[in-house]
């Protein structure tokens, strides 16, 4: 898939919320839509000051010329074989889950009782999570997924729950039709993409890797145990 369009699918939600990237979200849509990507989008992508260096790291480690190559972008947001050639000495990989769990301040804020609830919410929404579509509406879908939970010592995935997430608004939709039973990825309150089986496995795998890493750093144990959705 076109790397710019894929990047947009995952970066759109936090940009719309004003958390990162350029101030003008409409510019992202203009340049990042399929078939329109060009040099304009590259300049916008560089303004995602957390993601862009990771894309460059993956590209450099794998001999890929373009940080917006589709496979590089997929490696960062979802995970794929490229990551296994791009890790650091301490086990961290240039995957979005590494940034969320291990680099951002939120995991450490779990240990502060006044901040635990907010920190857990941010960790859960900021990570790329996965779930299965239950029902499909015009601009929203109901998805079943396993939320992050914190037991005071470690992060794990909890029992499956249902949430309503956006898939478009005012005619803007970045992905094709969805159907009940589809597996999708989500970022904040948006559906990013429909996942293939391989992508679902990769997203689980690399998320689990960094969940284990952050639990180790927090003094707990790895945390992907618990019931599966399916």
């Amino acid at each position: 898939m076109n790397g710019s369009a894929l990047f947009l699918r995952y970066a759109y939600a936090p940009n719309l919320l004003g958390y990162c990237g350029p101030a003008d979200t409409s510019a992202l849509l203009e340049f990042g839509a399929p078939g329109r990507a060009g040099t304009g989008f590259r300049a916008l992508a560089k303004q995602f000051e957390g993601a862009w260096p990771q894309l460059r790291t993956i590209a450099a480690a794998t001999g890929t010329a373009d940080p917006l190559d589709g496979e590089v972008v997929e490696a960062y947001w979802i995970g794929n074989r490229l990551l296994d050639r791009a890790g650091d000495a301490e086990g961290g990989l240039p995957h979005h889950s590494f940034q969320v769990f291990c680099l951002y301040p939120w995991a450490n804020l779990l240990l502060d009782e006044r901040r635990t609830e907010h920190a857990l919410q941010v960790l859960d929404q900021c990570r790329i999570r996965w779930g299965r579509v239950i029902t499909v509406g015009a601009d929203q879908v109901v998805v079943e997924s396993r939320p992050l939970v914190w037991n005071g010592a470690r992060l794990t995935l909890g029992v499956p729950g249902r949430e309503t997430v956006n898939r478009g608004f005012d005619g803007v939709s970045l992905i094709g039709p969805l159907h009940p039973g589809d597996w999708v990825s989500m970022h904040w309150n948006w559906v990013c993409d429909r996942l293939t089986t391989a992508q679902l496995v990769a997203l689980r795998h690399y998320s689990a890797h960094h969940l284990a890493l952050v639990n180790q750093r927090l003094g707990g144990r790895a945390g992907m145990s618990g019931p599966r959705i399916q």
Partner: protein
């Protein structure tokens, strides 16, 4: 995805969870409930994912 970015407090009513903070020239609603106020206009905070997480004071 995102790095923490500094913002300048524009307006933050005492005791409110949300304050108006200027970030890179754009004024946004930022949740300040994780920090102890009060916040005076002109003071700086570090923002991540919509929350102010570090208080800098009047000078960066």
């Amino acid at each position: 995805m995102c790095l923490g970015i500094p913002g300048r407090v524009v307006d933050c009513p005492d005791g409110a969870d949300l304050g108006r903070v200027e970030v890179a020239g754009v004024v946004r609603d930022i949740n300040v409930s994780l920090l102890d106020g009060p916040f005076v206009p002109g003071e700086y905070v570090l923002i991540h994912s919509g929350f102010a997480i570090v208080f800098f004071g009047a000078e960066l």
